[in-house]
């Protein structure tokens, strides 16, 4: 009996190994192994929009992992919430021969809250799985199905999301009813979707095959510039019980305003009177808006809570008035309501915030392109932009978080695409002056003042309002020079139309000029050395510099009496397509003036110029270390 069972088992495993061996790793073409830590062997995502509140997503995903660096690609994390449920998950681990090692199911997934550090509470959760790994290479197979009760946000398709992962085959099938109207954005897709019609369905299929992995390259452009993706939006939609239709930004903006914002803009009469009293006597709309913005900054703080429709709908203005907190939507809506109460119109704008700029897509309207809300106040001559979540931002200043990109305004007349103003290379200025006295032992005492503006405005923001002891501690980490100590730190901010921050301190540095027998070595550029960039060979992507800046340093040294010069570095001038650099030294008597100016221009440059770029930056780094050598 036992023997029979054993035989049966062997047969069964034999069968399963036979059926799985199609995922044996030796079937992977050699070209897909180069630079790859993992390979998408076979992936198929089928999205079926059965109705506006019923979207089924079923996925099969087979990934082979070559080494430890690929392990993360074998993990699976699925988000769910009240509108998304996980119907089933199962999976298998296969060895290098494609033979089953073990199986797993939903109960093996851990279930966690997805509240991130920035939020107090959000209602979505995630289930995730980290496979047990015994040996490399291995192959993991996932099959799962999700059900969405909404179709406002349909899954995007990014067939080769990771540079270190190659793709053998990845397929996306989208199925609708023939009468459903959808819009499709094909980004860098080679070819056309295959469309199949039956009586009851219409399906679109996209497929990407045999894509090699690539090395990660520094200073690379936005992946959307060169990677394939498909985005889909349905005309008729449903979301947490809200229904609507749109095919362009205009209609979507109209819906957002009418259904999500309009009825959130009531304030108690007492508040309206208070605000009116506050601006009475001011005639200029700009000044009124400024007064109100400062009132909001003083009164409120940023707290993020996202539940259901609350991910898109702001908290009522009256509630912000009462609680004195809110997230970006709530604070923008509140500010907008206050402005409205004194007759100043403004625009609620959806933006993709982040230091790396990203536009709202002009040609393709969809609900999930932004992650932040800002407020635009159109005045007679210009438009003032307000960041409402910051209690410190100057009136009308956006900073590098949201500058220079298209945004989507939701207004009573429908959606509009606007562009936030750019902070240019010339505006992003850091101007520093320092005077330094060197004594006969090489000790330095001195003082320094720096003015930051443009995107550099908030350079020292984390120092403001800190206790003195903490300020000094942090200065030590930004100016990490051995034996430096600081005193008289002062920081002030000019919050006018061209805001700037001014930071000044006195310092002393014991034995900065190092002594060696007879000679003293003095490195002239104390505070602003540029770092090196790697010298990548065979660059494939364009070179992208996200933001330009200009740095000007002027350091005036008073050298010790009776010093005798041993060596003086040459002046250095470098000009390049990427910017320019100059370092000059002027010595008159005991006074040595070191001037450094560096300009890095933002922009996109051809891949062939990467070598020039790294040479430019690395030459600057070398020049930044030049030294004066003297005797006493």
């Amino acid at each position: 009996m036992n023997k029979l069972l054993l035989l049966l088992l062997m047969l069964l495993t034999g069968i399963s190994s036979f059926s799985q061996s199609s995922y044996s790793v030796d079937k992977i073409p050699a070209s897909l192994k180069i630079n790859a830590n993992s390979v998408i062997r076979d992936m198929e995502t089928t999205v079926e929009m059965k109705g506006i509140d019923q979207v089924l997503i079923s996925v099969k995903k087979v990934v082979t992992v070559w080494n430890k660096n690929g392990d993360a690609r074998a993990e699976l994390a699925l988000h769910y919430d009240k509108s998304t449920s996980i119907q089933r998950i199962k999976g298998q681990m296969l060895n290098a021969f494609g033979v089953l090692t073990y199986k797993f199911s939903q109960s093996d997934f851990s279930d966690e809250s997805a509240v991130s550090n920035g939020s107090l509470y959000v209602d979505y959760r995630l289930k995730y799985y980290v496979p047990r790994v015994f040996s490399y290479p291995y192959t993991i197979v996932y099959e799962y199905e999700l059900r969405n009760k909404q179709n406002l946000i349909l899954p995007d398709w990014y067939p080769n999301p990771h540079p270190d992962q190659s793709v053998e085959s990845n397929k996306y099938v989208f199925i609708t009813k023939p009468e459903d109207e959808i819009r499709i954005k094909e980004n860098n897709y080679p070819g056309k979707a295959e469309v199949l019609r039956t009586e009851k369905t219409k399906s679109y299929t996209w497929q990407l095959s045999n894509q090699s992995a690539m090395k990660k390259e520094p200073f690379a452009p936005d992946p959307d510039d060169y990677k394939t993706s498909i985005k889909i939006a349905a005309k008729q939609f449903s979301y947490y019980g809200y229904k609507g239709s749109y095919q362009n930004w205009e209609a979507l903006g109209k819906w957002v305003y009418d259904d999500l914002i309009k009825n959130r803009q009531q304030l108690p009469e007492s508040t309206i009177q208070e605000v009116k009293a506050m601006v009475s006597g001011i005639n200029d709309d700009r000044e009124k808006a400024k007064k109100i913005y400062e009132y909001v900054q003083k009164k409120t703080r940023y707290i993020s809570v996202q539940i259901g429709i609350g991910g898109f709908q702001p908290m009522p203005a009256a509630e912000v008035q009462q609680l004195a907190y809110g997230d970006c939507k709530a604070l923008v809506n509140y500010t907008q309501t206050l402005l409205k109460s004194v007759g100043i119109p403004s625009l609620y704008c959806v933006v993709n915030a982040g230091s790396a700029r990203k536009d709202i897509d002009l040609d393709f309207a969809s609900m999930d392109q932004g992650n932040h809300i800002i407020l635009a106040v159109p005045l007679k001559t210009d438009t003032v932009w307000l960041e409402c979540t910051s209690s410190e931002s100057p009136f009308g200043f956006l900073g590098d978080f949201t500058e220079d990109r298209t945004v989507f305004a939701c207004t009573p007349d429908g959606g509009k695409i606007l562009r936030t103003p750019k902070l240019t290379t010339e505006m992003n200025l850091q101007r520093r002056k320092a005077s330094l006295n060197i004594d006969t032992l090489g000790n330095i005492t001195g003082s320094l003042k720096t003015i930051y503006s443009g995107a550099q405005y908030d350079h020292d923001n984390n120092l403001i309002d800190l206790p003195v002891s903490d300020q000094l501690k942090r200065l030590k980490s930004s100016y990490d020079i051995d034996h430096i100590s600081f005193s008289d730190f002062k920081i002030s901010q000019d919050k006018s139309d061209t805001p700037s921050t001014s930071a000044a301190f006195s310092f002393d540095i014991q034995k900065y000029a190092a002594r060696n027998q007879q000679l003293f070595y003095l490195e002239l550029n104390l505070f602003n050395k540029s770092s090196v960039v790697p010298e990548v060979k065979n660059r494939t992507l364009k070179v992208y510099i996200n933001r330009g800046y200009t740095d000007e340093d002027e350091l005036t040294y008073l050298l010790p009496k009776d010093f005798k010069l041993e060596a003086l570095p040459k002046n250095k001038h470098i000009n390049s397509a990427f910017g320019s650099y100059s370092a000059t030294i002027l010595l008159e008597g005991r006074t040595l003036i070191y001037k450094r100016k560096m300009i890095l221009k933002d922009g996109t440059y051809p891949a062939e110029q990467y070598q020039d770029f790294s040479t430019f930056i690395n030459d600057i780094n070398a020049a930044d270390h030049s030294r004066v050598i003297y005797k006493l």
Partner: protein, 657 residues
């Protein structure tokens, strides 16, 4: 009249223990006036009063004993930086799907503006329950109307179903506290060991007998009521090179040691090491897993093939286990899935892997013991009495002749006899199947060591061509091996290295002993260095410290409160032999140095010589201790400062006329 007074007193005595709590939202004028000049002028917020009680109660539902914990706090926010103190998170643990029960939550913001108190109550609808994972949940809320000078206050009750760890109390937090008081009321049936951690002193401790405080199945039980009070508590600030903050935060901990049963008799939960030894060695997930010889009997001949002595046997077994059971990422002293199963599934936690190693050693008749410890993140161990839950890691102590080796097969790429850095935390307890347990010093087993030898020639055009050979052992070798592993191939590892150094290119390389982890990692690089531009210069400056240069002083603080814990001793040696063009002579050089740290804590030496057109340069840096006292901090700072000074200076070559 007199009897009435007496009655009133009795009533008071009979009141529940939280009677000493301060009144909710009963703000005093001093509290309104209070500025952030008390205790610490750097404070963004301060706890004005904090009061907690913990006692045992019978759960009304199932009659089981639970700990009832009541917490009440009032704090003041001085400025914007302190606003985050208004975001409250109350963590609850979940034991076997039963979470701590939170009740009676209330919270309020009190602002004093224009001569008036204004209270803003927390809306219960704005309280969120977040199930974080299988084991923890959070109740979260934020208080409304926060402004500079706001006073916030909240209180709640937690019913905790797990009585083994009586609720601990943190006196110290990230903001200072004026007054913190905790009352633990412990039924006489239960006996807890009490530990006060941290350097701060209690202002007051009081122990009273509280009669008939608990009734279990009709029996009245007395309690001992302990009151702990601390005042003017500074904020806790974390520093670099420090083990777990819980080692230093002032707090009080309770661990159940024994309890009496109502039916008579006493159950020792944790008392003596003898008890612990017995429990551990007979535990199915511990001692039993050290005895799984059978699992290895059949495998042994294959594993021990080609081995000669005990040491080579041990190494073969260690390699076998390390290769065949991979860590599933979980740590612990107990075996999670049992040795046999771990061996079959090739996966297990630290307990599975290292207890399997002990079993395998005994199958080969080698003498191995278990060493249980607390990792650096987990905190220091209490040596006074055994607190088994404080141990969170197990490694192997193998004895061959007079020599002992500490082994951890759960971390790949470690050489035989070396423990990972996270184990370097003082002492551990050795558990032997037959003998009593004992404390044992944990040391890494291998010094962190790198030696660099550069032999090169400087050409007239400023190009240096030569060969750099480095030998690494200890954590440096471990880190480099991990680096090579994550780069994928040696070629890619070297390419990345090359890309990072703009003026140096690696023209050829050879790295050996990558897989032979017991041998030093040897890297050989052919280098081409651009040292300067121009031909036939009158003077050439050459900085010999470009290898392994110390750019920043790692000890740059102006004051230091806690020990500097580097984990391990280390040593670096650099030797350079550089041939220079014949028409140059050395005119200046960095000072030859020989400095040391007090108490033989470390040494730094350099020397430069010139003869036969050849510069011979050497540098030696040694740190002998894994841990330095706060009092030694400034010696370390000055020691590094002198090194940095010296490294700024050059060798100067002058052209002969």
């Amino acid at each position: 009249m007199k009897s009435l007074l007496c009655f009133a007193l009795l009533l008071l005595a009979g009141l529940p223990i939280y009677a000493q709590d301060f009144s909710f939202a009963g703000i005093t004028h001093e509290e309104i006036e209070l500025k952030n000049t008390v205790i610490d002028s750097n404070a963004n917020a301060i706890v004005l009063r904090e009061f907690g009680t913990a006692s045992m109660e019978q759960s009304p539902g199932d009659g089981r004993l639970v700990i009832a914990y009541r917490y009440h706090v009032r704090l003041k926010i001085f400025n914007k930086q302190g606003y985050e103190q208004a975001n409250i998170s109350i963590p609850q643990r979940i034991y076997n799907d039963v979470p701590d029960q939170l009740s009676e939550l209330k919270a309020v913001t009190i602002n004093y503006t224009e001569g008036q108190f204004k209270q803003s109550q927390l809306d219960p609808k704005k309280v969120f329950n977040e199930k974080v994972s299988k084991y923890t949940a959070n109740t979260k809320f934020t208080l409304p109307n926060i402004m500079d000078g706001s006073i916030i206050e909240y209180s709640y009750t937690l019913h905790i179903p797990y009585i083994f760890n009586f609720k601990s109390w943190n006196f110290q937090a990230d903001i200072p506290k004026l007054h913190s008081q905790y009352i633990a009321s412990i039924p006489a049936l239960y006996n807890y060991n009490v530990v006060l951690r941290g350097v701060l002193k209690l202002k007051d401790t009081k122990a009273e007998l509280s009669k008939e405080c608990l009734r279990i199945n009709g029996t009245q039980i007395d309690c001992s009521k302990m009151t702990y009070t601390m005042e003017n508590i500074p904020a806790f600030i974390e520093e670099e090179h420090m083990t777990a903050p819980t080692n230093f935060i002032s707090a009080i901990y309770f661990e159940l040691s024994d309890y009496a049963m109502l039916s008579g008799g006493k159950v020792n939960v944790t008392k003596t090491w003898k008890n612990v030894d017995n429990e551990l060695t007979s535990d199915r997930s511990f001692g039993a897993q050290m005895k799984k010889k059978d699992a290895f009997k059949e495998l042994m001949p294959e594993i021990l093939k080609n081995t000669t002595d005990d040491l080579s046997k041990a190494q073969a077994i260690y390699n076998y286990i390390a290769k065949n059971i991979k860590s599933n990422g979980y740590i612990g002293i107990y075996s999670e899935t049992a040795v046999k199963k771990a061996l079959e599934s090739h996966s297990g936690n630290t307990g599975d892997i290292n207890l399997a190693l002990i079993s395998a050693f005994s199958a080969a008749d080698l003498d191995a013991e278990a060493l249980i410890l607390s990792t650096r993140n987990n905190g220091e161990l209490n040596k006074l009495f055994p607190v088994i839950s404080n141990f969170n890691y197990v490694v192997v102590k193998l004895n061959i002749g007079e020599k002992s080796y500490l082994l951890d097969a759960s971390v790949p790429l470690l050489p035989f006899g070396m423990l990972p850095l996270h184990c370097m935390n003082g002492q551990g307890r050795v558990i032997n199947l037959k003998k009593p347990s004992y404390w044992y010093d944990i040391s890494s087993g291998q010094k962190d060591y790198i030696r660099y030898n550069l032999t090169a020639t400087l050409a007239k055009d400023g190009k240096i061509k030569g060969q750099l050979v480095t030998y690494s052992t200890g954590y440096s070798a471990f880190q480099k091996r991990k680096g090579i592993e994550s780069a994928g191939t040696i070629a890619e590892y070297v390419e990345k290295l090359d890309e990072k150094m703009p003026k140096i290119s690696i023209t050829n390389h050879e790295i050996s002993n990558v897989d032979s982890v017991n041998l030093p990692l040897v890297e050989k690089y052919e280098l081409l260095i651009d040292s300067y531009d121009g031909d036939g210069l009158a003077q050439i400056f050459f900085n010999p410290f470009f290898i392994d240069r110390i750019l920043k002083n790692p000890f740059n603080l102006s004051e230091r409160t806690y020990p500097v814990d580097l984990g391990t001793a280390s040593e670096r040696r650099v030797t350079i032999i550089l041939n220079v063009p014949e028409d140059y002579t050395m005119s200046d050089q960095p000072k030859d140095m020989s400095i040391g740290l007090p108490d033989n804590g470390g040494r730094y030496l350099t020397s430069t010589n010139f003869s036969d057109h050849t510069i011979s340069f050497s540098q030696f840096l040694q740190l002998n201790k894994p841990i330095y006292d706060p009092s030694e901090y400034f010696s370390l700072k000055e020691f590094y400062s002198q090194i940095i000074q010296n490294q700024k200076t050059d060798i100067i070559l002058k052209k002969a006329k």
